[in-house]
């Protein structure tokens, strides 16, 4: 007996049926007690829906941002000290420029894969924030923010704010002509805040613009402080997701008290890891083939120079658009100035937008008096007023974004800049009021539509012996007919009870 257990193979077997794996599990479990929790984790079910992938795009572009960002930080020099450039990019040879700009040009041209990493970083940032907005819209329109997930909504809105701030900080670091102008505008916006504005601007910039410390400060905020907070919040966001389990759309066998989908191991892991590779791959392909932010063409920042068509990255577009179209309503009185033409579009407007975003779950609960726990999602048409409100805000943001290109539009269509500006003012003002009723109407119609959520059945065309053609709808699909898939009734506090359509909300999920 003792002779048998002494062979290594037998010793391994002694730990359990699965040999070395059993041995490793035993060793870890005796120390950390992970067996039960680990199995629960591997068995964890993730609901499948294409829209749940949007958050994954956010997460994986964040991963790409961290990796490429570490690469860039090895070569970037955060210093406004002026040096004379003598590098491999000859058109700039002999020009005075900040070390920050020189090092950015240098890492683009002299460092192997540097340009690729820089372009990937920039593309990943744009995709990061873009997919964040789309993910947020999905969560909003499907009601995934409702109790018990209000805290995760709050974390998400904070992450979006931080992402936009960090995007701006990173965009500013190369110290090129366009981004330097952006910093100048940011300084003036700080300056515009009543009472404390000048102090705030001087503290942030270490004195009057441009000062000597702003790039160093932006750098440490961009690579350390903000990412650290974001990593913590992303961790909390995911931990809450695991703890509260993912929401799911109503459908066959899907109830408030269960989750239907694929298990964590191996199906979800394979799909999500593959998706990480796809996101990273697409960003790398963009970095390879789609030029972004060619700072060597803009030239180094000099406070007295400027170029045409100065525009920020897309996620700042709505602010720039608001600044362009807001009328020149400055307040001068009692020995003080409040530059409303800056404060309102650049401070009050974003404050209001993000304030409403933070408050929305509470606002909605207040209106609907709905204090129930929700794990089943709404279809956007189930909640016409919420859907319409979201559409109104998106329409406003879209119009503000377009307004950030007034000069380009005027040039492109050969119309007067004044006309474009006036048109944009009107469009921005009316867009929410046009979008709201349209979205509301569409949602209502879709909701009342016979067979909403059901698969369409084909028409069968038959020819009689006399040569007459006849089209008749085919009988419903077998699996549709087998069990009508009414979603678990969710108390609808917002809308009056819908007229009883025969098969409202019935849907088959085809997998």
């Amino acid at each position: 007996m003792s002779g048998v257990t002494s062979t290594p193979r037998a010793r391994r077997r002694a730990h359990g049926r699965y040999g070395r794996v059993s041995q490793v599990v035993t060793e870890i479990d005796e120390r950390l007690g992970v067996a039960r929790g680990g199995r629960t984790f591997l068995d964890k079910i993730f609901p499948d829906h294409w829209s749940f992938m949007l958050g994954e795009i956010v997460l994986y572009s964040f991963v790409v941002l961290l990796v490429t960002g570490v690469f860039l930080s090895l070569y970037y020099v955060p210093s406004s000290t002026v040096v004379t450039y003598h590098g491999s990019y000859l058109p700039l040879d002999g020009m005075p420029m900040s070390q920050a700009y020189a090092s950015t040009v240098n890492l683009s041209f002299a460092v192997r894969a540097g340009l690729l990493m820089r372009q990937m970083h920039h593309w990943a940032a744009d995709i990061f924030i873009g997919s964040m907005v789309v993910h947020m819209a999905r969560v909003f329109f499907t009601g995934a923010f409702r109790k018990p997930r209000e805290l995760n909504w709050t974390i998400g809105v904070t992450l979006l704010t931080l992402a936009i701030v960090n995007g701006f900080l990173g965009y500013s670091l190369p110290d090129d002509l366009v981004s330097g102008t952006g910093i100048r505008i940011a300084y003036s916006i700080l300056l515009s805040i009543p009472v404390i504005g000048t102090y705030l601007a001087f503290w942030v910039f270490g004195g009057n613009f441009p000062g000597t410390v702003i790039l160093e400060r932006f750098f440490i905020l961009h690579v350390l402080v903000v990412p650290l907070v974001m990593i913590g919040l992303v961790g909390a966001h995911l931990a809450l997701l695991v703890r509260q389990k993912h929401t799911q759309f109503p459908g066959e066998g899907r109830r408030e008290d269960n989750v239907v989908g694929s298990p964590m191991f191996p199906v979800f892991m394979a799909k999500t890891t593959g998706f990480l590779l796809i996101v990273a791959g697409v960003i790398a392909l963009l970095g390879a083939f789609a030029q972004i932010n060619p700072i060597w063409q803009f030239g180094p920042y000099e406070a007295s120079r400027i170029s045409y068509a100065v525009q920020p990255d897309w996620y700042m577009g709505f602010l720039d658009g608001a600044l362009r179209i807001f009328p020149s309503w400055s307040f001068h009185s009692f020995g003080h100035t409040i530059p409303f033409e800056v404060t309102i579009p650049a401070v009050v407007l974003p404050g209001l937008l993000f304030g409403v975003a933070y408050a929305w779950p509470a606002l909605e609960r207040r209106v609907t008096k709905d204090n129930a726990i929700h794990h089943l999602l709404d279809r956007p048409s189930d909640r016409p007023r919420r859907t319409a409100a979201g559409a109104a805000v998106l329409a406003l943001l879209a119009m503000l974004f377009v307004a950030s290109s007034t000069d380009v539009i005027a040039n492109f269509f050969h119309v007067s800049l004044n006309t474009v500006l006036l048109v944009m003012r009107v469009l921005v003002l009316i867009s929410p009021f046009v979008a709201y009723p349209i979205a509301y109407r569409i949602a209502k119609e879709m909701h009342a539509w016979h067979g909403a959520g059901q698969r369409k059945t084909p028409n069968v065309v038959t020819r009689t012996d006399e040569g007459e053609y006849r089209a008749e709808p085919a009988p419903a699909f077998a699996d549709d007919a087998e069990e009508p898939l009414a979603p678990t009734p969710v108390p609808d506090f917002i809308e009056e009870p819908p007229p009883p359509p025969p098969s409202r909300g019935t849907r088959a999920i085809d997998r």
Partner: protein, 309 residues
């Protein structure tokens, strides 16, 4: 056509249950396609290594790395989607809330233990809380104060003085014969053209509008000698350089937010979000014919702020 399947629990499922089969109807074919995708991915990743090694053009690095990751990812996603257990599986959601007794126990612990502490030792609790609170407030001030100087009067003045020579970016003094009518040049008070403050604050746009003295506004009779007028180049909206001069319309245009200033009538904003005219710099031409400033600007340059009257 999809087969109808009811969600089942993963636990205790027999190994031959159809839920554990892949979704592919022709698994061998799918496997071959996925293998091809992954093989392409592997080859491209190897190509990335090769391109990096020989220092090939940046786009080849991105193409090989991006393509490689993409095709590997497609293979892996396809593997998970078509060849692994198709499900659907179901898992119960357990209520997040604890039992009422447990909640009561927590509240009791907080109130009875904690409350007793505070009630009996109110002074100690107050001192600790007060000390930390005061520290929080006091710590803010030195922290803020070390971030930068106080604004004081610095926003109200530029480096233009009585008699400052106007020089261009290279430091060359501007002579009365230098500019033709309709031309513009960016100038700085001599000595500041290479400093960041000179660049950011003192920048001034010098325009020659005619050959005679030019009066842009009543009370500025001597400010535009021999047709030379000078305005602060900082937009009164957000401080961008007002760098575009539309010669025919005699408008200065800010490229950032398209404010337009009419240079013939005191740079009053004609269009756009800028709220105030560009401040005008009073000039004179000295005996040698150099363009010089009579004084500093008479008002703060650039965007608005609270302390500005």
């Amino acid at each position: 056509m999809s087969e109808h399947r009811t969600p089942v629990s993963l636990r205790g499922l027999p190994a031959d249950d159809p839920h554990l089969q892949g979704a592919a109807r022709r698994p061998e074919l799918v496997e071959r396609v996925l293998a091809l995708s992954m093989l392409v991915g592997l080859v491209l990743i190897m190509g990335f290594g090769a391109c990096y090694w020989i220092n090939a053009a940046p786009w080849t690095l991105g193409a090989t790395m991006g393509g490689g990751l993409f095709f590997l990812g497609v293979g892996l996603v396809g593997w998970g989607k078509y060849l692994m257990a198709r499900g659907p599986f179901v898992e119960e959601r357990h209520a997040l809330a604890s039992a009422p007794e447990e909640r009561d126990a927590l509240a009791a612990a907080l109130v009875e233990r904690g409350g007793a502490l505070v009630k009996r030792r109110r002074v100690l609790g107050g001192l600790v809380g007060g000390g930390l609170g005061v520290f929080g407030i006091v710590a803010v001030f030195p922290l803020l104060r070390s971030l930068g100087p106080l604004p004081k009067g610095t926003l109200f003045h530029t480096d233009w003085r009585a008699g400052s020579f106007a020089v261009d970016i290279t430091g060359r003094r501007i002579h009365v014969d230098d500019l033709a009518v309709g031309s513009v040049v960016t100038v700085f008070p001599e000595g500041t053209q290479n400093t960041s403050r000179g660049q950011a604050v003192d920048q001034t746009i010098l325009i020659r509008l005619s050959n005679e003295n030019f009066v842009t506004e009543p009370g500025r009779a001597t400010w535009g000698p021999q047709g030379y007028v000078a305005y602060s180049k900082l937009c009164t909206h957000l401080g961008c350089p007002v760098g575009l001069y539309e010669q025919q319309l005699e408008l200065l245009v800010c490229p950032c937010h398209q404010s337009m200033f009419n240079v013939t009538n005191g740079a009053i904003p004609e269009f756009g979000p800028a709220p105030r005219p560009l401040p005008q710099l009073p000039l004179y031409i000295d005996a040698q014919g150099y363009v010089r400033s009579q004084s500093d600007y008479h008002e703060p340059v650039g965007p608005g702020f609270w302390e500005r009257s």
